[in-house]
């Protein structure tokens, strides 16, 4: 009976039923069979209102939508071009860094491709980068940056991990610190690839001009302090994460709506609704999974899974390798938010028994998701780039392939070198 119900639910997932409804149905069925009072489900969902960090999610998302809608992406690209356009390999490197930062702040990887990628692509071509490389870079740009503060997936991993009461504190500022070196590793590796692409070509297509550089700086004078204030505030411990989110939201609002006036007041309700559609879609899945996590832990499912895996996989390294493959497959089907919310409660308790640090696990999880976004047939970035640049899927994938290989290499390093993630955390 339960097996039939399980198969029916999986079929419904594949047919495209909303995930929150699938999880809810699974929990309802299990609790009903056990004879548990079903009002525990709304009680669990209501506990969303008892998690102070969650406030950061709507605030950062709203700020990200404002940034993407404003002229901020143009100003960023202008600075990049003015300062680094002349440098061999410089433009690609800074474009990567810029995209990483933009993704970290806007949280959604598609936004970067649409808002920044569309502007960077012609700039890269003009600076003499091959077409295929440029296309690959802007498609990849959407997912690098997930490891940098204040990215939503990092925050969400912290939220889910804290719910599990695993005995280890998983502080969100720790996750932010842990992401820095692995994130830099990815950016540096991809930049070196950019440098190699430009080998043997004349250096300067765009001469450096001090005046243009200065003008571009003045242009973005309002946006430039934002990362400094927010990141400085979080890393120094001056702001809590939700406070940093509030500062970002109000600051971005003042700059883009009141100072630059690039977003009209009349457009605000639409933007607010659009951004909250994303927040609602994430948090309703989180709410359902709070209920299902409780059930999973009560039924000791992670322990049973662990015992099963334990009999086949003996070492932590073996487990991590298996995890890499599993997460890649998962990431091709699910978006990053639901993958986090659904799989972390299952995987984290098992990983702990293999003595894997929960913060390291979070970084590995997200690094894998960065690649999964780029894998056919389901990778979301491929679809977004396909629509944005109007190219066939196969061409996009061919362009992305070298990037995927480099990312895979980086993920292996991140996975098997826990020190890289944990070095900056105070013990």
């Amino acid at each position: 009976m339960m097996i039939l119900a399980g198969i029916a639910l999986i079929v419904l997932v594949l047919l495209g039923a909303p995930l929150f409804a699938i999880i809810a149905a699974g929990v309802l069925l299990n609790f009903a069979l056990e004879g548990t009072d079903l009002t525990v489900i709304p009680i669990e969902i209501y506990s969303l209102a008892e998690m102070p960090v969650l406030l950061a999610i709507p605030l950062f998302t709203f700020a990200g939508y404002l940034l993407a809608e404003s002229g901020a992406p143009q100003r960023l690209v202008r600075i990049t071009n003015a300062f680094f356009g002349w440098m061999p390999g410089g433009l690609a490197a800074v474009a990567l860094a810029m995209c990483a930062m933009f993704t970290a702040f806007t949280g959604a990887s598609g936004v970067t491709i649409v808002a920044l990628g569309g502007l960077l692509y012609p700039a890269l071509r003009q600076a003499g980068y091959p077409e295929r490389y440029s296309l690959g870079l802007v498609t990849t740009s959407g997912s690098i940056g997930l490891l940098f503060a204040p990215s939503l997936p990092l925050i969400l991993y912290g939220v889910v991990a804290q719910q599990l009461n695993i005995g280890h504190p998983v502080a969100i500022p720790d996750l932010f610190l842990a992401g820095i070196l692995p994130g830099l590793l990815i950016v540096v590796m991809l930049s070196l690839y950019g440098l190699w692409q430009r080998r043997g070509q004349p250096a300067a297509h765009i001469p450096f001009s001090g005046r243009a550089a200065l003008a571009s700086l003045r242009d973005a004078a309002w946006e430039l302090p934002l990362p400094v204030v927010v990141l400085g505030g979080i890393y120094s411990g001056y702001f809590a994460v939700s406070e940093a989110a509030a500062v970002t939201a109000i600051y971005v609002f003042i700059v883009e709506v009141l100072v630059h006036r690039e977003i009209r007041f009349a457009a605000l309700p639409r933007l607010m609704r659009e951004s909250m559609v994303l927040v609602g879609a994430i948090l309703i899945v989180l709410g359902m999974s709070l209920a299902s996590t409780n059930y999973l832990l009560d039924a000791e499912i992670p322990t049973r899974l662990f015992n099963y895996i334990r009999s086949h996989v003996h070492s932590a390294l073996g487990f991590l390798l298996l995890l890499n493959l599993f997460l890649l497959a998962l990431g091709m089907m699910l978006d990053i938010f639901s993958a986090l919310v659904i799989m972390v409660p299952l995987i984290l308790p098992i990983a702990l028994k293999y003595d894997i640090h929960p913060v390291h696990l979070g970084i590995v999880f997200l690094a894998n998701m960065e690649i999964a976004y780029l894998m056919p047939p389901m990778g979301m970035n491929l679809f977004i780039a396909m629509y944005r640049f109007d190219r066939p899927m196969l061409e996009i994938f061919r362009a992305v392939l070298p990037f995927v290989c480099i990312l895979a290499l980086a993920v292996l390093v991140i996975t098997y070198w826990p020190g890289l993630s944990l070095a900056l955390i105070k013990h």
């Binding site: 495209g16 039923a17 509030a246 500062v247 309700p269 879609a281």
Partner: protein, 172 residues
């Protein structure tokens, strides 16, 4: 436009519901941003803290999230796996859509019913969310949101069935 083929009275009603949802969502998000920002100003520059602000903010997150989820239902933008439907021809996709719509509709009605029972329970015990506000008021968004999501999936179901029967043009 899932409400295109409804009788005019119903269509107007749905439009009114949509507007109310939007207004509430925008108002609450604005309140959240302003409240969170003013709290930081008060705390860091004036050394003041207003009791209950934190709880109010957390509650606003719950409400905004569920109003956002209702808006997501309207546009079919809940998180889902697009593995099969993407590749199906129009009519078949419409029938698959009506199956998942029906499923979601039923689940949401059950959730709405259980949330309502929770509300009644906490009304009886006179539980308070923070200081003054009773839990049953704070949590009333749950049954409300699930009913509204169910309404949207009902409209989608009608739309998809009509497409399946060939009475409406399927989307390209």
């Amino acid at each position: 436009m899932t409400e295109r083929h409804l009788p005019p009275v119903l269509a107007r009603l749905v439009k009114l519901v949509t507007r109310t949802e939007n207004a509430l969502l925008v108002f609450m998000l604005a309140a959240m941003v302003l409240l969170a920002a003013s709290q930081i100003v008060l705390r860091n520059f004036m050394g003041m803290s207003v009791a209950g602000t934190d709880q109010a903010l957390r509650l606003l997150v719950l409400w905004v999230a569920f109003l956002g989820a209702v808006a997501a239902s309207r546009e079919g933008r809940h998180i889902h796996v697009d593995a099969v439907a993407r590749w199906l021809p129009g009519r078949a996709r419409a029938w698959v859509g009506s199956l998942t719509d029906l499923f979601t509709l039923v689940v949401c009605l059950v959730l709405a019913w259980e949330s309502l029972r929770y509300l009644v329970k906490s009304y009886d015990t006179a539980e308070k969310a923070f200081g003054v506000l009773p839990v049953w008021v704070a949590a009333s968004i749950l049954p409300l949101a699930f009913v509204l999501i169910a309404l949207r999936y009902f409209l989608r179901l009608v739309h998809h069935v009509r497409q399946g029967l060939g009475r409406e043009e399927p989307e390209a």
